[in-house]
């Protein structure tokens, strides 16, 4: 009992132990369960996303090492959320060098695993938040080559006079650059919408030029420059911005901000290489280091040479496709649901209408008495049945209406008992009459000398046919027709008898 109580207390105490979740930025006592909570997973995704963006900036410099100016090194810091450590660039000669080294280190990898275990996120995503040794080796190689290149470049740039001797222009641009420098542009990695940079320099005709500039290196190194070239259709400015993520790093130690320094697009030379040279030494506004190396075959003219714009070519190509698309869509639309109501009738009628348009005679079954299929109020069965019903009812109505003068004979209802009674009366009457009458020479029954005896209800009538009929009825096996006839006769006899009784 005591042990279970102790256990319970321990469990309760465990529950009470609060710990801080740096992902959610709150204290909790959920223990290990906390990482499975939906709020935590949401917070974790945003947390890692932010870290990922920072890493992508550093990854850019991993792929494209750039030389870091000492005066700007102090401004560059990187906070590693995994290790909870700040990495600064003091003493590094290349952009993000220390950060790259940190992210490639074994210590960071170990802490990253621990972080992912503690806070969730999936151990398979660990590679996204660190740099591999291979990447580090490549970067170091590039840095070495950059070092060698920059030393030679610095010699060359010192000897050349780039641009006109318009000091006013240069001074102005220098001023503006310096102003930019002095401005504290805030975050380390400013993001520009759609990768569009603000205008950094005064526009100058030399900025857009095709003259071959000897300062460009064949291997695409950044020399110096102050602007971006118009590169034609090979590689648009937006592509360049996209490929070179804008950060606040300096590209060259020896970069002289000349507005008229030209970065060539060597189309004229047929080299196919072109590069944008961004010589910005502005903090927060980066320069574009190197663009892309084009294949020579693609460099077939540009806006300056008067080549047709690519979007027109694209539209021409697409036009035939476009024309075909609406046709097909129209055809598709005209193909209505074959199972729709009256589909067969509709198709048939369309064909008939087309024939009529052409002037052909159509044998239609639409007479003056045509009616659509209609379901009646208390409908059961198909609509055609209701049409048939109506048509069957139609002939009856006109018959009644056409002969209104026909005498309508109203007959009272005569029950079967009455029929039997009347029949027995008739039989007796006939018997009596037969006794009283004899067949005369003319074939007519004549009273048998008992004219004076007045038998009530026994008139002198021709009853030659009556006995035979009654015999039929009496013998049985009579049909309804005979019964009807007998009833009629009985009725007539009754009427006559009544009259006789009434008459004085």
């Amino acid at each position: 009992m005591m042990k279970s109580a102790d256990k319970k207390r321990k469990k309760e105490s465990k529950k009470c132990e609060f710990e801080f979740c740096k992902v959610c930025n709150l204290n909790h006592d959920h223990g290990n369960r906390h990482k499975y909570f939906p709020n935590h997973t949401k917070s974790l995704s945003t947390f890692l996303h932010r870290f990922q963006t920072k890493l992508s900036d550093i990854r850019f410099f991993l792929r494209n090492p750039t030389i870091l100016r000492p005066e700007l090194a102090s401004r560059n810091r990187f906070w590693c959320v995994v290790c909870d450590a700040e990495v600064d660039e003091i003493g590094s000669s290349f952009a993000c060098a220390n950060a790259i080294n940190h992210l490639a280190s074994a210590d960071h990898a170990k802490k990253l695993k621990h972080f992912l275990w503690k806070y969730g996120g999936g151990m398979d995503h660990a590679d996204n938040f660190r740099f591999s040794e291979a990447d580090l080796a490549k970067w170091e190689k590039k840095c070495h080559s950059l070092n060698d290149g920059s030393s030679s470049c610095s010699d060359r740039t010192n000897g050349l006079q780039i641009g006109p001797s318009n000091d006013i222009q240069n001074e102005l641009s220098y001023k503006s650059i310096n102003d930019f420098e002095n401005n504290n542009l805030g975050p380390l990695t400013p993001k520009f919408l759609n990768n569009v940079l603000p205008l950094q320099y005064n526009t100058h005709k030399y900025q857009i030029s095709q003259s071959g500039h000897p300062a460009t290196a064949a291997d695409g190194r950044i020399v110096c420059g102050a602007h971006i070239t118009a590169s034609g259709n090979a590689c648009s400015a937006s592509d360049r911005w996209n490929s070179n993520n804008i950060t606040g790093w300096q590209n060259s130690q020896h970069c002289i901000p000349h507005t008229d320094a030209v970065g060539t697009s060597n189309f004229g030379n047929g080299g196919g290489k072109h590069m944008a040279i961004g010589g910005s030494n502005l903090h927060g506004l980066a320069s574009i280091a190197q663009v892309s190396v084009m294949a020579p075959g693609l460099a077939e003219g540009n806006v300056h040479t008067g080549a047709p714009p690519p979007w027109l070519e694209m539209t021409v190509e697409h036009h035939p496709e476009d024309t075909s698309v609406p046709l097909s869509s129209k055809k598709g639309k005209s193909k209505l649901n074959p199972k729709r109501v009256g589909a067969a009738w509709a198709e048939k009628r369309k064909a008939e209408l087309e024939m009529e348009k052409r002037g052909e005679i159509v044998n239609s079954d639409c007479g003056p008495n045509w009616l659509p299929n209609f379901g009646r109020v208390w409908q059961s069965g198909s609509r055609k049945e209701s049409l048939k019903e109506f048509e069957s009812e139609k002939p009856e109505l006109p018959k009644v209406e056409v002969d209104p003068e026909m005498p309508i004979t109203l007959r009272p209802y005569v029950s079967k008992r009455m029929v039997d009674v009347i029949l027995s009366v008739e039989v007796n009457c006939v018997r009596l009459s037969m006794e009283k009458t004899v067949m005369g020479p003319d074939g007519m029954w004549q009273p048998n000398g008992m004219e004076k005896e007045c038998i009530s209800g026994m008139p002198k009538i021709e009853v030659c046919s009556l006995p035979g009929m009654l015999q039929q009825l009496v013998w049985g096996g009579y049909s309804t027709l005979w019964i009807q006839v007998a009833l009629d006769l009985a009725y007539l006899l009754g009427v006559i008898l009544q009259k006789q009784s009434v008459a004085p």
Partner: protein
């Protein structure tokens, strides 16, 4: 208002409109121009006719016309106005809240009500393939 809609007075006209309206809902209003409720319905119909013209045709039938009496009897028109719906010459049934599912008796409150009913009929006829609920 019925002058804005085709006014049918002969059986032949009714036949032809029913037969020639293909893949569209046909609404035939049976009534008379002198009736107040018919006028109200005609107002709604004439205003909505254009909006539904892509998938419906609306016409009015004069119930007092001699030639049309066969249709009056056939559709059992006893109350005015009554609207009968067709799709590809097939009569479309609908539940108007009364026991009679063969027609719509009375007027509509708003244009949208009428448009909704016509859309429902068209949808049932075209996509569901059933001439009524």
């Amino acid at each position: 208002m019925s002058y804005l809609l085709p006014n049918l007075t002969k059986k032949k006209q009714v036949d032809s409109i029913i037969r020639d309206t293909i893949d569209k809902v046909l609404v035939l209003r049976f009534g008379r121009a002198s009736d107040a409720l018919c006028l109200q319905l005609d107002d709604i119909l004439s205003k909505s006719a254009r909006e539904v013209s892509k998938f419906a045709t609306v016409a009015v039938v004069d119930i007092d016309s001699e030639d049309v009496q066969v249709y009056v009897k056939y559709f059992d028109i006893t109350l005015v106005p009554s609207s009968v719906f067709f799709f590809n010459a097939h009569h479309m049934k609908m539940d108007s809240g009364t026991a009679d599912h063969t027609k719509w008796v009375g007027a509509f409150h708003t244009k949208q009500d009428f448009i909704d009913v016509v859309e429902e009929s068209g949808w049932m006829g075209t996509f569901v393939g059933k001439p009524g609920r």
